[in-house]
């Protein structure tokens, strides 16, 4: 599917072509309708994956190997290269991407994407594709994204009493508390 024709999708914001992939940004509130539209009107009958990404600290110093300054290469700090340019700013903290596939000749793929901040939620697409059940639970579990209308939104991979969402960028690494220590 070319990048044209996506304007009709409910909640349409923008469409982008990069690396041979189509990314369609839609309003988070309209994602369920957008998915239903993609399935019924555009023929994307297969939901491949639901994945969220946390962009907290995106382009900031000291995160994910970014060691430059906002102005670019930091020449005053030895052993650093810095980025030649800052990465493109993101509209909100989290992206939630829905990878769609049409089981037909040419295997067209598309990524529906919506952007939310911490505390906001997106509608569940389980009613459109039953396979979204575990994908959404996993993203809730590891990234803390709330999916409204999910029939069973509980932790999937971690224990039920786990605190925090490990794939978030502000989750402490190596800070696992020890339950049974000698002090007891």
């Amino acid at each position: 599917m070319s990048s044209t024709g996506w304007e009709r999708i409910p909640g349409f914001v923008s469409v982008k072509e990069a690396h041979g992939e189509t990314t369609v940004t839609v309003e988070p509130a309209a994602i369920r309708d957008a998915c239903a539209f993609a399935r019924d009107a555009l023929g994307f009958n297969f939901l491949v994956d639901v994945v969220a990404a946390d962009y907290l600290g995106w382009g900031a110093k000291g995160v994910s190997g970014y060691i430059g300054s906002p102005a670019g290469r930091d020449l005053n700090t030895p052993m650093t290269q810095g980025l030649q340019s800052l990465p493109e700013t993101k509209p909100k903290r989290f992206s939630v991407s829905y990878h769609l596939l049409a089981l037909r000749k040419g295997a067209p793929r598309a990524r529906l994407q919506c952007w939310i901040d911490d505390g906001e939620s997106v509608p569940s697409v389980v009613s459109v594709w039953p396979t979204a059940d575990w994908h959404e639970r996993e993203q809730f579990d590891l990234m803390g994204i709330r999916f409204d209308g999910h029939p069973n939104l509980s932790r999937l991979l971690l224990e039920d009493d786990w605190e925090g969402h490990p794939l978030r960028k502000d989750y402490p690494i190596g800070g696992e508390p020890v339950r049974f220590s000698d002090a007891e």
């Binding site: 990069a18 690396h19 041979g20 992939e21 990314t23 009958n45 297969f46 939901l47 491949v48 994956d49 994945v51 990404a53 946390d54 962009y55 995106w58 382009g59 994910s64 190997g65 970014y66 290269q81 980025l83 340019s85 990465p87 493109e88 991407s97 990878h99 596939l101 089981l103 037909r104 000749k105 295997a107 793929r109 990524r111 389980v126 594709w129 039953p130 396979t131 059940d133 575990w134 996993e138 590891l142 029939p151 069973n152 932790r155 999937l156 991979l157 971690l158 224990e159 490990p166 794939l167 989750y171 690494i173």
Partner: protein
Amino acid sequence: MTVAPEKQTAAAWPVVAPPQYEGSRIPARVPTILDVPAGLRETDDIMQINFGPNHPSTHGVLRLIVDLDGETVVGLSAVIGYLHTGFEKSMESKTWWKAITYPERIDYVGYQNAELVFVLAVEKLLAIEVPEKATWMRMLLCELNRIHSHLVYLGTSALELGAVSMFWYTFRERDLIMDLSEMVAGTRMHTRYFQVGGLAEDIPPGFYPQARKFVEWMPKALDDYLGMLDRNMIWLERTKGVGVLSAEDAIALGQSGPNLRASGVDWDIRRDDTYLAYDQVDFRVPVYPEGDVYARYRVRMDEMAESVRIIRQCLDRLEQMEGQPWIADDRKVVLPPREELHTSMESLIHHFKIVTEGYRVPEGEVYTAIESPRGESGCYVVSDGGPKPWRVHFRAPSFVALEATATCMHDSLVADLIAIVGSLDAVMGDTDR
């Protein structure tokens, strides 16, 4: 009853078999949980048992909470996560080239394919061109790995249904594949032989004759398996008509790979969304419309035979590529040849920078998908332009396959549960990541 290739291309796309049963059997409330019917819930006849997580037939650490009415399964929910190791988080703190070791340990049976999907994603961001020899060698190893994975499936599933000798036969051939891995990469599993830009090392001398021997041997072994299972009454009775999944339900539940093809959907990423050089080899895509455990077994059996054919074609091509480069000539990404380090200052600097800091990958997000032995294995990668991945996510085919357990288990006996879970061929490392 494999469909001839010319028939496949002429048919509508994809071929969806007539429904195995009327309507959808996906449970109504939660698609992955089979609820005990309201009438039965009040009675005292329901026994709830834990199947796993440490039961040998769960292929690792899958836990199924099963409600039984006598011998019939009336309720089922799967509990996963016992093997969750946070690979995706760990990869965020490793440089790109060190992160390649992780995917193999995610799908530890289909390791070569898991490695490939991550390497392809990084190469897509880097827009780096891979030499032809590396492409064909990757294809060869991925097909060897597909046979390896299907052999593990066949051996363990048959073992669970009582055909103990199958296990020893399949693991004999599996050992031959691991010998080939050892020859190429030095390790028998989890080779880390695929490097961004090509292969980590040149193909060793003596590999082609050894691989040829395997290619000659494998069809005979497949005949052995067929002879042992395909006319075995116990095997047939326990697999035919068990765990039926219709084509519509399989698509709605996101099933892929052999599970999808066994439900009559003619879909293979190698052919329909081609990658590597699969468009230049001749192979057939086995499709069976029955959707039961037996169909899944037959799809995998036929796929092994097709993989052998692909390997033979890869060998034909590779044997003519003697002396060609096996990795891209891009000094900003690829390690310089070892012997240059003693004579070239530039090479030493590049080597030092790549090893200590890692190469930088342009900003962007990509999703790559390949046909792993278990179905669509995908990798979603986000880069901020730095030397480490910002976000890595794997679309795990085993994870999705287990979503179908509740639908497959509809009206089944508890003994069928083992056959069904085995036939979905989930690797728990892949499921839990």
